[in-house]
Amino acid sequence: MIKVIYEKCTLCKVCIDVCPFDAIEIKDNKIFINEKCTLCGLCVKNCPEKALYKEEKKKEEIDTSKYQGIWFFAETKDGSISPVSYEMLSACLKIKEKLNQEISGVLFGENVSSLAPDLIKRGCDNVYVIKSEKLENFREQTFADAFSKLINKYKPNIVIAAATMIGRSFIPSVAAKIKTGLTADCTDIDIDEETGLLVQTRPTFGGNLMAKIICKYHRPQMATIRPKIFSPAEVIDGKDGNIIEENIEIEDDGNVEILGREKVENVVDLQEAEIIVSGGRGMKGPENFDIIKEFASLLGGAVGASRAAVDSGWIPYPHQVGQTGKTVKPKIYIACGISGAIQHLAGMQTSDFIIAINKDREAPIFKVANLGVVGDLFEVVPLVIKKIKQIKGG
């Protein structure tokens, strides 16, 4: 609870101004904190009179020393380890530098044993393998059941997973089963040197605010981490470790059955892509997306789109980048004919390098672009394609 020391409060209203959640109002000439409060603490931080403080109820302390080890879920795809899993391992290695505990990877599937040595070579001390045909295809319930049973058995201190659609779908269920905290979509994790707690940093409020979150009294401390934040873990010479095949009884989930799969063309996983070429309203029609597709494929990249292009029906929804679509962070993001509405910027502005091509010099996309090109995309892009082809050809 946020508490007010009324003797100190001068009703300056600074707290009301800074509260992002409209949780502070004046009632009977007094500051009043309402139910919208998320305990973010911005008011406490900003009160010039130090008239606000956070009150913590004493919690039952659990014996946190019983919980040891840094775990990550190693996602697989089409029989190999997903690149994003090496990024998770990399995040674990960062944590291990400050918290000297073993790193364990967790692999699910029918034929995943052969994938374990690679994880060890790159830094895992242990790899737990649950071999089961029930885990061959992703289903929320079976994955959550198996993972929570493994966690309950070994009691790790920290559990992380990628904030992919798979991670974001089943990890919350694991946290709810264990009744522990989970922080979504972290862009950084670290260890507080004084307390040894996992400090989880995540964007919130449409990316406009950053928050540091901890989980003090519950274990494991769980987080999903956005792809493309950590660089993939590399092979460490002579690294050794244990592979543990686990026999865990997984509840046969007859509730969910996968009937079929259909690939989405040209999406090649936007969140994994190193290069994304996106088209917006300036594309003028679906047929013109061929230029974007050609440009993207020349660079080995994926095709993205703005909401305007998707809503016009020019390209399917899985390509959409932005607030109601996907959040991406490629090495290079090339925006063609995208004006840069806030909702689009929220999904791509943390890309490493942004190239924007737009006719309108005043387009907001230029505010986030590293290289802004004021020009007609229908003239510029074909010329770029031609030049790249010449380079590649000769």
């Binding site: 600074v14 992002p20 959640f21 409209d22 139910e35 409060c37 305990l39 911005l42 931080k45 109820k57 319930q141 659609m165 798979i166 779908s169 919350p172 269920s173 946290a175 709810a176 009744k179 905290g181 989970l182 979504a184 979509d185 449409g206 605010l209 950053m210 928050a211 979150i213 901890i214 989980c215 009294y217 989930d253 007859g254 969910v256 059955e257 996968i258 079929g260 259909e262 690939k263 989405v264 936007l270 929804y317 607030q323 109601t324 090495k331 190239i355 230029f366 986030v368 672009a369 590293n370 290289l371 802004g372 004021v374 020009g375 003239e379 510029v380 892009v381 010329l383 380079i391 590649k392």
Partner: protein, 261 residues
């Protein structure tokens, strides 16, 4: 068929800026709206009712003002609204929110389908849907882009994954989270607006929904925010103008420098 739609009231504008004089965060615009992702959930609930009959009830947890959001849902075509509101719910993280919602949903009872938006605009965790399903001990499917059919106690739907769609058959009762591809939310009709105006939103307190109080609000929240700050995006970009040929050359030069061409 009994359909429950979960929704959240969120601030319309998520814009924050730093006052250059005081260095403090200032937020502008205080209007509240239904979380945009939830409008797809509401629309799908209404469409299911139109296809299969039954009733649609929307539920929310929030301050008393959140009843406005539930009224908006009624204006769109939802039959009833339930607001879980109590000081004890303040400071809830996703786990406590999910627990509270699951208690409220149990109170409503006898549901076949629960529909949630894929995430909220302000928190964007996407965790509440799956956690609610877990607390209710029912199956769930995330990122649903189409409901193909519902017969007896089985739903067939299409769900979106990173680079493919999956056709999934799931037993009812089920919770689904939906993406915007699933439909286009309707604009409330005049009749709907009149109905919403007269509608009574049922308000339930912690005591009324039952459940274990130690799992509500701040007490029931394992996570704590310890710091919040604004993210400053400084891009030292350059903007070039000129002939298409030169512009194209500049782009290619840049791509070459970055080693991708």
């Amino acid at each position: 068929m009994k359909i429950i739609v979960c929704l959240k009231q969120v601030p319309e504008s998520l814009d924050v800026r730093i006052d250059p004089e005081t260095k403090r965060i200032v937020r502008e615009g205080v209007k509240s709206i239904i979380n945009p992702y939830d409008t797809y959930a509401i629309e799908e609930g209404i469409r299911l009712k139109e296809r299969f009959g039954g009733e649609v009830i929307s539920i929310s947890m929030g301050p008393p003002q959140a009843e406005e959001a539930l009224k908006e849902a009624i204006a769109m075509g939802v039959d009833d609204g339930v607001l879980l509101t109590d000081k004890k719910f303040a400071g809830s993280d996703t786990l406590a929110t999910s627990y509270t919602l699951s208690c409220g949903i149990k109170k409503i009872g006898n549901f076949d389908i629960i529909i949630c938006g894929r995430e909220t605009l302000d928190g964007s965790t996407g965790q509440v849907g799956p956690e609610v399903a877990e607390f209710l001990n029912i199956p769930y499917v995330t990122y649903v882009s189409k409901i193909e059919n519902i017969s007896e106690d089985v739903m067939e739907c299409i769900r979106l994954m990173e680079d493919h769609y999956e056709k999934v058959k799931v037993k009812l009762p089920v919770l689904i989270t939906v993406v915007k591809e699933i439909n286009e939310p309707r604009i409330p009709s005049l009749k709907g607006l009149l109905k919403a105006k007269k509608a009574e939103i049922k308000k339930l307190t912690a005591e009324q929904i039952g459940g274990d109080e130690k799992f509500f609000g701040q007490d029931g929240s394992p996570t704590r925010v310890v710091d919040v700050w604004t993210q400053e995006l400084k891009k030292e970009g350059k903007v070039i103008e000129g002939e298409a040929e030169d512009l194209a050359e500049e782009i290619v030069k840049q791509l070459k420098e970055m080693g991708v061409v």
